[in-house]
Symmetry: D2
Subunit: 346 residues, 4 copies
Amino acid sequence: MVLHVTQSVEALEQYCATLRAAGLDAPWSRPGPLIEPKKTRVEPRLWRWAEIEPLLRRSAEFVTPERGAERRILRLANPGVPERTSTHTLSVAVQYLLPGEVAPAHRHTPNAIRFMMHGRGAYTTVDGDKCLMAPGDLVLTPSMTWHDHGNEGTEPVIWLDGLDSPIVRYLEALSGEPHAMDRQSTGYLAGLSERRFGVAGLRPTWVPPGTGPARLIHYRWEPTHAALLRLAELEPSPFDDVMMEYIDPATGRSVLPTMGCYIQMIRPGVRTRAHRQTSSAVYAVLQGSGTSVIDGVRYEWQQGDFFVVPPRALHAHANDDADPAILFSLQDVPLLTALGLYREEG
Amino acid sequence: MVLHVTQSVEALEQYCATLRAAGLDAPWSRPGPLIEPKKTRVEPRLWRWAEIEPLLRRSAEFVTPERGAERRILRLANPGVPERTSTHTLSVAVQYLLPGEVAPAHRHTPNAIRFMMHGRGAYTTVDGDKCLMAPGDLVLTPSMTWHDHGNEGTEPVIWLDGLDSPIVRYLEALSGEPHAMDRQSTGYLAGLSERRFGVAGLRPTWVPPGTGPARLIHYRWEPTHAALLRLAELEPSPFDDVMMEYIDPATGRSVLPTMGCYIQMIRPGVRTRAHRQTSSAVYAVLQGSGTSVIDGVRYEWQQGDFFVVPPRALHAHANDDADPAILFSLQDVPLLTALGLYREEG
Amino acid sequence: MVLHVTQSVEALEQYCATLRAAGLDAPWSRPGPLIEPKKTRVEPRLWRWAEIEPLLRRSAEFVTPERGAERRILRLANPGVPERTSTHTLSVAVQYLLPGEVAPAHRHTPNAIRFMMHGRGAYTTVDGDKCLMAPGDLVLTPSMTWHDHGNEGTEPVIWLDGLDSPIVRYLEALSGEPHAMDRQSTGYLAGLSERRFGVAGLRPTWVPPGTGPARLIHYRWEPTHAALLRLAELEPSPFDDVMMEYIDPATGRSVLPTMGCYIQMIRPGVRTRAHRQTSSAVYAVLQGSGTSVIDGVRYEWQQGDFFVVPPRALHAHANDDADPAILFSLQDVPLLTALGLYREEG
Amino acid sequence: MVLHVTQSVEALEQYCATLRAAGLDAPWSRPGPLIEPKKTRVEPRLWRWAEIEPLLRRSAEFVTPERGAERRILRLANPGVPERTSTHTLSVAVQYLLPGEVAPAHRHTPNAIRFMMHGRGAYTTVDGDKCLMAPGDLVLTPSMTWHDHGNEGTEPVIWLDGLDSPIVRYLEALSGEPHAMDRQSTGYLAGLSERRFGVAGLRPTWVPPGTGPARLIHYRWEPTHAALLRLAELEPSPFDDVMMEYIDPATGRSVLPTMGCYIQMIRPGVRTRAHRQTSSAVYAVLQGSGTSVIDGVRYEWQQGDFFVVPPRALHAHANDDADPAILFSLQDVPLLTALGLYREEG
């Protein structure tokens, strides 16, 4: 605030009141920079599976995933995000579905991904393509694709839901609708998307790449794990150790325009070098245990835990165990890249 | 909210308190959709030049654009945006600079544009390239380009500042710094960018397209106006009448990754058909007068006025005058397009 | 030829002689269109394996793949191509390598592919990455990558070589050089390219896509065959039945800028609809037998045979057998597409 | 040729005869490299206007541009190109049209450009858009656009025709057809393309970029010349002095997929550094005079002359005059770039 000495504070206050009435604002009349930063910022945080799991199982006592409730989820709420999402751009939740239950079909503008964590027998149907989800499988439900989930197994299932709803909401672009039926009919062979696009380096000549089953939506754990192991024998990244991004094999691009999905192995004994990015990330620990130092604070994590790395937070990972640690993460790198705002420094 | 009948409200409240303590959130425990929409939304609004101008001139009694204050601006504050910017993604302000004054050199992550409105003799220097701004000229200062402004004329000047700072701020990507000098030195011929890229369909072979003066940053009024007039003799758009987007002639893309700039003529007697888009827009009336109906409300505008069209607001324009009306607008179409969220319906 | 009646043929001939002396040409002085078409055109043709194989085995009596000879190959020579290549853009040959032999390392501007046909134990090393080639494997050696081949097995091996040398030659862009060593040293783990890029939908985050082992160069038969079988259960193309293009999974593009590689199954009992394209193709029959009608002429093919489909030739395939027929083909679709000349009509 | 000592020349000859009968070829049976280079190569050459012009004017005694003859042209025939075109990829001719004459409407797969050299009053109509061509104007007729020319002035006109017909012909992709009428009707305002796309950095919002009048097809001399002069005051290229490429301002790409158009000023006293490229070029001298050294041979050129720079030919230009020299050139850079074959070394 740089005021002329000839003016009184009262005159300025009166002037500002006139401005307000006219729908105008003089940012120089307040202390601080012309562009005022956010009052709250995404914070680093760790969520323990030991704490989440019993609460998630208890949720079944309160809610059923039928129309209205739609999904039985618990969201990772970042203390620095007033809207109670995991970061300002990413909403990560755990979803719990009992044998025989169906989470009814709907669609919405936010993009979503599912990463299967516990239990067998669950499926997600995406625009009529039914994908059976084994632990470690990733299934995409891009913006405005119809999707319903069901548990046809004999045990409860738990998966991770990741959405870009915070940014879609901020952009006032939220919309959606229920499907006429709870379960979409699946008029063709299951795994249509995977049959067409599931092999590296091959593409049907007569199916133009598109959305829904006209692109790869189901990424299975077995080849992913095998790829990590094979890659682990080569020279890895000093910052991330052995890290792969899930991509659309028909275009080479990130799986969604706003969110990238990553799978990462921190090999036994590895301590990565610290780096920082303008993007934010939510990590899920799939296997093993380790430590991350985020902006100087040490977080020890184990299988099932989640943690957040905020934008520009310096972070490094370490695995002092004898077994590899495997992390899945959801990051808003594609969003920042598209807007020319992605930066990385090591 | 779909609760099991067997559960009491108290049990749920206790459960939710435990969740909160664990950093978890159960969106189904509250009424409303799983993804809660924003509490406030961008609103349509008109600002009258008759009201803005005297307040802007008075601002010189309170502030000088030196270090600290940096810029003598009044921002268009949307009543639906808590952060007092013009929309949730666009910050539009009017800037006022007296003869001899300099707004000192700095740079920042938000992209910005300047559109000259009143007075002659002002310049913006962008990464060392000094652009003299006549009324109607558009000058770009892309993310992290150094820029300072000065008034070398004999009358006060007023221009429009447009920034994507609201979205950069939301993404926690705000950063910037002052230049060591108030005025950048300009080590080469003025108008470098324009000499290289200012003619349609020609590009120097040995200058790779890039930022700063390695791209077109100065778009002059005279050829813009002439282009509008020539285009006005052809079949125009039913929704926008005669409308052109400013583009980077070296790539054909919108001038900035987040914001598009548009120039538009509503010819005498024209009433456009209504349409809606998921993008938001701030319009400045350069010439003439007319009427816009935005979500059923009628706004009459004259030269110098500004108005906002919010996302998904149905809008149509009319010009019942004998003279053409000319509108400049700043819209977040590139941002929504990059994220796959742009939709338009007529 | 449209001559003025007032001119004699002699005057024209004299005039044309003067033109020739001046390095000028008057195309209107000759009958026919202003742009004279080629005198010879690519012709459809079938080569029988029964005829090729004994000649190929006899070639070992005449030549050894050492420096100077470089490769023991027999090229499919199209009767309509004066340069004795398979089409005007594609050069397809069969290569024969005895146990213990090495085809020495070199590199050249033409792009090449290898498709393994008979025998085990052969490898191709591409920029230091050693790829063991089993029957049905495809290995790429893009423009200017070093490559040598060797047979470390106990039986002779035969593979298909496909090059874009005819077009590179026409463009006067042929160049190449021998490597200092006959066999490149392989300083790292075999299969580097495949470890990095060999799984659909995953990409190492720290390896920028590029050439040599920084892209997928080895496409194995087993997953290719499995993909064909899975795809065969879906609705196929009416023109090509079950057909996939090999693509670069890091970009979704054809494997080479000039040539596309395709794998195709004509299921038992299928008769495809006829279509024509501006591209040319060389087909190799991997399994089964069938019939192709090309511009009205019927070609019956069996395992090991090759046939050419010229540009704009109407063609359809049929399989009247009880077993599927599998065809590999090399086509210049990417070349024609890049130049805006690809057309297809069904 | 590396033959086994145990084999006689006769045995090899007999073997090769058998191969020929089987449609096979053994390139190792002949001396020289496996991939035989072309027997003729594009040669550097200069054509003098003093020699061309009288021959061109005489051509009117022999031919009229009516159906059948279509165009009264003289082609620059390169001694190294058997097909008598200017290079292996570019066909450049001069066209001569008398007052009142019409060169009737047709279309064809080759792309073409016109560059106006002498006389006023001529037009080219492209897909119904009539472009009046003043000296120095460039008009595009992309692949398969209808085009007719006429001379509505009082003096003969001469322009340069540039086509990619040699490469389209080599690719066996030549096709074309006459229009039902000699002159296309022009149902709308002349200069449609220019009204829409003729101003740098502006694009109509409701016209999707495409072909014909949905892209810029007319590039005028006046702004081109002014752009050269403005650019000449900046630091130029050491290899080409002041050189600009004509581009499509809606995409930033070269004007055609196979051919690029360039305008270039060699300022008085400038001697450029030598460089070589894999592309070929045909230059037309628009103004002034100078010297080019191409692969060691010196060519002195004056206004109206043409010269060819072959692929990989080292070349440098010099202007020892007091006035600037201006060159227009047509080059196959986009073609070679699209195929990954473009290289440049200085």
